[in-house]
Amino acid sequence: MSQACGMAYGLKLDGKKNIVWCLTSDGEHEEGNTWEAVLFAAKNKLDNLVCILDRNYIQIDGNTEDIMPLDPLDEKYKAFNWNVKVIKGNDMKEILSALKQARNNKGKPLMIIANTIPGKGVSFMENDHTWHGKPPKSEEAKIALAELNKIRNKIKRIKIK
């Protein structure tokens, strides 16, 4: 996030209209330097900075709220002087709508907290933290890909207005 802040700061200084999109995770909010970036972005009113937080509630050792509780993240960000939006992170309509709206963000940096189900679409992976950093064996991969392909065949194209 600090790198994104640096880029956003430099672009704003130069009067450029770019938006800096930064994908972040919940687990890394346990790191101090994440909050250094949060403070900095608010101080400098980096409204050209849009962060998307993959709020999946898992990290290597387990559920984030067991390892180092982070909730309520939305209130924390509001208290740190950011604009905040909470969406269903596996709902493409909500995602696209939020990203579109984000282009009009003004005055404060924007945090989009996307509540996600980790491993969504694969029955034996959903909400299981042990898959956070582990690749499937080839048999497991076969089953996983079959399930995902089934979903893919059901997806209809969404028109972006």
């Binding site: 600090s2 640096g6 700061y9």
Partner: protein
């Protein structure tokens, strides 16, 4: 104490470097601050970031003149270097300034990952290095910074010898495309190079030619090395004195030449003897021209609180101490 005229008459003094020995003492950090203002005028991409240490890192003049290009980060050194990385990514030339103990001390991994691995054009400035930081004591006296920065791929490490050299080094690293680290001290130190003394990154300076012992130093202690060399001359020992301002990349040719000519090497730095200039030179010599070497520096313990002068004396950075060690070492090597 060598007098100015003694140093000017020093046998083997390299006239090409146009050294001068005035009475002036100026802090090296002033060289950084003054150079930044010059840079700010000629290069619009130069930006300065500071972690709540504006005045003591001498960046207040830049802040006054170019307020839009000055970024106050507050007490957050990890953010300091990583925001700098982001700024470099959009074409800026950021100078991230703090005390060496805090940066690179606290944020070494961010420097490694976001600056070195990306080869971002960020200049990291470690002020207040060495024991001469004084009363603030061990927690503020960076002694390990050279070692940890030297180990990073893509990083250039510079330790200028005086105010004038620090100015030139600041300009040089601004021109250089890539990560660079420069460290300097807190106190006023002797000004002995001149505006005409050339400075090139990676090119060590043979200040005085000699044949019995090569004294290789970095930072303001180099002046003490010159004074020690003068005392050695009086005792019939001809020391070569090299200002090795760039520790990475090391000027291998100059150092190996000196080692081959003199047969023994003494390194001097206001830092731990482990991993800094002494370490770098030991590595080079062992692989290419094994030479008896003695390292002067802090011997693997922490600094302490005291007046800068007291501490420099206690930790062996005075010309008298360097002379004593050099004399003993040289005699010992020549006798074997």
């Amino acid at each position: 104490m060598a007098k100015r005229c003694d140093l000017e008459r020093l046998k083997g003094l390299n006239k090409d470097l146009k050294l001068e020995f005035p009475e002036q003492k100026i802090p090296t950090r002033n060289g950084y601050g003054d150079a930044l203002v010059e840079l700010g005028k000629i290069n619009k991409s130069v930006m300065v970031l500071c972690a709540d240490l504006t005045e003591s890192t001498r960046v207040e003049k830049f802040r006054e003149k170019f307020p839009k290009r000055f970024v106050e980060i507050g007490v957050a050194e990890q953010n300091l270097v990583t925001v700098a990385s982001g700024l470099a990514a959009v074409g800026k030339i950021p100078f991230a300034s703090s005390y060496a103990m805090f940066c690179p001390g606290r944020c070494w991994e961010q420097i490694r990952t976001t600056i070195c691995y990306n080869n971002q054009n960020v200049k990291i400035i470690g002020a207040h290095s060495g024991v001469s930081v004084g009363p603030d004591g061990a927690t503020h006296q960076a002694l390990e910074d050279i070692a940890i920065m030297r180990a990073l791929p893509n990083m250039v490490v510079i330790v200028p010898a005086d105010y004038e050299q620090t100015k030139k080094a600041t300009h040089a690293i601004a021109k250089y495309k890539g990560p660079a680290y420069m460290r300097f001290a807190r106190e006023k130190t002797p000004q002995f190079t001149t505006k005409s003394t050339e400075f090139k990154i990676g090119k060590a300076q043979v200040l005085k030619r000699g044949k019995d012992l090569a004294i290789i130093g970095a930072g303001p202690v180099v002046y003490e090395c010159l004074e020690a060399a003068e005392m050695l001359e009086r005792k019939g020992i001809s020391a070569e004195v090299i200002n090795c301002h760039t520790i990475k990349p090391l000027d291998k040719n100059t150092i190996l030449s000196a080692a081959k000519k003199c047969g023994c090497v003494l390194t001097v730095e206001e830092a731990q003897i482990i991993g800094g200039l002494g370490g770098a030179i030991s590595e080079l010599l062992s692989e290419n021209w094994p030479t008896k070497i003695k390292r002067i520096g802090v011997r693997d313990h922490f600094g302490e609180s005291g007046s800068p002068d007291e501490l420099l004396q206690k930790f062996g950075f005075s010309s008298k101490h360097i002379f004593k060690e050099a004399f003993k070492f040289c005699k010992c090597v020549k006798n074997n």
